[in-house]
Symmetry: C2
Amino acid sequence: MVRQVNKTTIDIVKIKGDKIFRTQDTIVQEVPITLFLNGKEFVTLVCSPQNLEELAVGFLCSEGLLQSPDDLKDLKIDEEKGVIYVEAIEGEAEGRFLKRYITSCCGRGRPIFYYVNDAKSMNKVTTNLLVTPGQVWDLSDRLEEMSVLFKETGGVHNAALCTPTEVILFYEDVGRHNAVDKIFGRAFLNDIPLEDKILVFSGRVSSEIVIKVGKMGLPMIISRSAPTSLGLEMAEKLGITVVGFAKGERMNVYTYPERVLG
Amino acid sequence: MVRQVNKTTIDIVKIKGDKIFRTQDTIVQEVPITLFLNGKEFVTLVCSPQNLEELAVGFLCSEGLLQSPDDLKDLKIDEEKGVIYVEAIEGEAEGRFLKRYITSCCGRGRPIFYYVNDAKSMNKVTTNLLVTPGQVWDLSDRLEEMSVLFKETGGVHNAALCTPTEVILFYEDVGRHNAVDKIFGRAFLNDIPLEDKILVFSGRVSSEIVIKVGKMGLPMIISRSAPTSLGLEMAEKLGITVVGFAKGERMNVYTYPERVLG
């Protein structure tokens, strides 16, 4: 694995029509960066690890913790540890700290234990699921065909719960996470077994999506889009097959390819 | 305005090459839904207002608050008010409540005051900014040309801070919000005046993006993608011009079109 600051090169299985071959692919880096404000852990941002000074300052500006240049006293970045230490004036900014804390993480920040604890609390998926490349493309095509609201507005993501040959549930939502949560919710309410099902998804396969799929106990994600490095690291740990760019008789299989080649 | 459960039809200005005309466009609905768990306000999810039972249950499953069907005692939806009331068993789920609270909102949920307070605390943008359609397409094309990492990985969003003729800042990030925060951070650090600048963005113009742009004091967003209904409502309130689907000699101008036609 060749790791650079903003991308990673990994070995994948690429399928084009009836050709299956091992090759390399470039994956965008996604890393958790923990922000300490005046010595206290504030949030962990999952981000591309460049321009961390801009990210930390911009995040604190967005959350109202930095309002004038004088509010910022010091900023140190430890790239090795993935930590940013910010010193900002006490008083108004500090006074907003707690009140804003909830909001601050709502943008998309999260405490590091989100990743640590969630990963710990999940078991590796065990499954007998096998799909053919043709079934993968068929499910991906059907997701697109069903995406009426996307065709009309261009503003939603789509998620479907499928067997290798059938779409069982389909939801659209302006929020990538919401579309997946709607699947999770209906599967929970209807007590649908998930260890042999597949999430077919329009969005990028980031770490947060993989965590949800791991919690559902689904063994496979088929996406029409790209994965991130952290998403794939978690999929590897959780035993989840990630198929990306699945469309037009092409796909990249990033993890556990034996379930597609089976 | 014809409002349906999942989409809204609004009047827009459409520009194709040298043709400018008023027409209607279909915008995806984005609404805040507040979730009360056992009588306490838990989070507000910004979502597509369909399948709210699935969304609420799936969200609580994702956050570990519902683990077995017995955990869910009651669920009531008030679509008019945009509120969901969930009764879940006390004890383990309830015990996780506080510990999980931060995480719960980190997915993308947020307390309702996020929207209320943030909107209140922002002033309507005043600007003399004027751009020609040609300048809009040129900036959109340059954003795409600069998106090297996207071309390599397909896994990032891009944001640029621009004048009508120049790209001043450009950032790529796996997180839509991060790319915009990096612009905010650098502009803050370099004390760049923003009332005459433009955010050129690859991502969808949702309410959270419009709130950031309003806090920056930027008068215009040019996106290659779609806006949401709530994003446009906030842009209208905040005096921000939203241009969507800006590519290939086409664009939709959703709010304050006089700045583009000027």
